[in-house]
């Protein structure tokens, strides 16, 4: 369970860039929550705060009752984070990369092996598992990063644009994987700007614009609030006309 309450984060010399400006929302266990917003809306900043990488300037963010600023290390043990497909060790194989992160999280032996193999198989990586990651494509890298984020079986999963670079089959595989995690009762927060992803996957949608939460509810809620027929139109309506390329 994630609870974000009036969180503020600014950057710049004089804190003039407000990346997150009083955002509040919650993500429940056993549900997939989509964080949706245009470029620069503050999605990644919010996820980085939840991942305890940067502390909020004001407000509070809690993961399973633990404060992300005060209980950093306890939160880190609970969460699995996919921030980017970067930071893989290029000279290690996909399997070695996943095993390494598992070991750092205290998983070892047969449990680690079973967990890593299961993830690699579900992501369609079985054939690639023993190749070094330095020659991997963007999508293949992403799959390794996803397996790495989930190897310790975290209760809360934070994914920042996980379908970037994935082909259709892998995207479907990832969706299945996330649905499986949902069925296990995990709390899943996915940031994206791909509308299809949200429609296909998310139980709850949080729309973010200029660092503020514009709306939170189900896809159906979004349609009825905005009076639009498609999620894309609802998104644009709820954000207001000022967004888009000009924003």
């Amino acid at each position: 369970m994630i609870v974000v309450d009036a969180v503020v984060k600014s950057f710049g010399k004089h804190r003039e860039i407000k990346a997150v400006d009083g955002a509040s929302f919650h993500a429940d266990d056993g549900r997939i929550t989509g964080l949706l917003g245009p470029n620069g809306a503050g999605k990644t900043t919010l996820l980085r705060m939840l991942a305890t990488l940067i502390p909020p300037d004001a407000g509070q963010a809690m993961v399973d009752g633990l404060d992300v600023a005060a209980d950093r290390y306890a939160v880190r043990r609970q969460i699995g984070v996919l921030s980017d497909a970067r930071g893989l060790y290029g000279r290690l194989t996909a399997r070695e990369n996943v095993h390494y992160y598992g070991r750092l999280h205290g998983v070892s032996g047969a449990a680690l092996k079973a967990r890593a193999e299961g993830l690699l198989a579900r992501l369609g990586m079985a054939e690639l598992a023993d190749r070094r990651t330095q020659g991997f494509s963007q999508g293949e890298r992403m799959k390794v990063a996803i397996a790495r984020a989930l190897v310790h079986d975290p209760a809360t999963v934070l994914l920042d644009e996980p379908t970037n670079g994935l082909d259709i089959m892998s995207t479907r595989g990832l969706r299945e994987l996330l649905r499986g995690l949902r069925a296990e009762g995990k709390c899943i927060l996915v940031s994206t700007h791909v509308m299809q992803e949200v429609a296909a996957l998310c139980d709850s949608i949080v729309i973010l614009g200029h660092g503020r939460v514009v709306a939170q509810g189900s896809g159906r809620d979004m349609l009825s609030w905005s009076g639009q027929a498609t999620l894309e139109d609802a998104f644009v309506t709820l954000l207001g006309s000022g967004e888009g390329l000009a924003a």
């Binding site: 060790y89 000279r91 290690l92 070695e96 390494y100 070991r103 750092l104 999280h105 205290g106």
Partner: protein, 64 residues
């Protein structure tokens, strides 16, 4: 998980990562192996030159 075990995990990964990169590893080994003797030879050579100079000391003599 103990801190020591974690350090060991990181060290093992670093070693594996380094030894996988043949070129860097070979370069490091070759450099390390050749640098010592090379410097020794250079220093000895300089010392020998100095000694040679000192032995064949030529003094300017004034007068016819």
């Amino acid at each position: 998980m103990s801190a020591l075990l974690r350090v060991f995990t990181v060290v093992a990964k670093e070693l594996l990562d380094t030894f996988r990169d043949r070129r860097t590893m070979l370069l490091t080994l070759v450099t390390a192996a050749t640098a010592g003797p090379l410097f020794l030879a250079l220093i000895l050579n300089m010392a020998a030159n100095q000694a040679e100079k000192a032995r064949a000391l030529k003094l300017p003599v004034s007068g016819p």
